[in-house]
Symmetry: C2
């Protein structure tokens, strides 16, 4: 049986690059997918990453990665979209926040930039969510 090599399974340490300011405080009220969201908020990027924002433009769409700090990490199966009439599925076949490494991705639109504070629309993260990365849309 094939097994992952030991050295590739070592723990990895992430450092948040900022936080997400959002009007969503209750994860149960978050849109189920970013594509369904018309929620506006701010990405408060830490000052030390200012240079990494060079060239960011108002009106552009960006991909954000964030850490779902409220999500359970030790549950491996869920009912999709919390619909208990649907059979259990492995979390790796769903978009559930519940998963061993609860990293979410969302595409949002930049509506304003002031220093390292980025106004965006299309959020599905709760207020205070650690921000991990920002990428251009592929």
């Amino acid at each position: 049986m094939q097994k992952p090599r030991e050295e590739s399974m070592q723990e990895i340490v992430l450092k948040p690059i900022g936080i997400i300011q959002s009007p969503i405080s209750d994860p149960d009220k978050a849109p189920r997918h970013g594509s369904e969201s018309t929620v506006s908020g701010k990405l408060i990027v830490d000052e030390q990453y200012r240079d990494a924002l060079l060239g960011l433009e108002k009106g552009s769409r960006i991909v954000i990665l964030y850490w779902m700090h409220l999500a359970e990490r030790d549950v491996l199966q869920v009912h999709p979209r919390r619909d208990y009439t649907r059979p259990l599925r492995g979390v790796f076949t769903t978009r559930s926040p519940v998963r061993p490494n609860p990293i979410s991705l969302d595409t949002v639109k930049v509506t304003g930039i002031e220093g390292t504070v980025i106004d965006v629309i299309g959020l599905d993260a709760v207020d205070g969510t650690p921000l991990l990365d920002i990428k251009s849309v592929a």
Copy 2:
């Protein structure tokens, strides 16, 4: 000036869920975007996450998140696609592997499943890359 709250900036520990087996050994030869890739390889998921694969189907497209373990984390600006005729940009406005938290995402197609080993096509990761997450396509 708005600053991220202290408690949201604490370090986060990830645990790889497996590794990626790929014919790509040199990151300089990796396809620049997953969408350009016709590379086949395997996701070797650790046995402890077997239940999280329930319902995964051959032929389906999945999103994988992985840790670019060879990427620099302390460079904040790059020439896009390593084209030095193009001006420097902040890494957060690019898809460069270089970034503070080098997490990449790629959409691949499942071509076979045997236990916790998943055959896929469309890879852009190098051999031995730590796998962080598998999600359904949104």
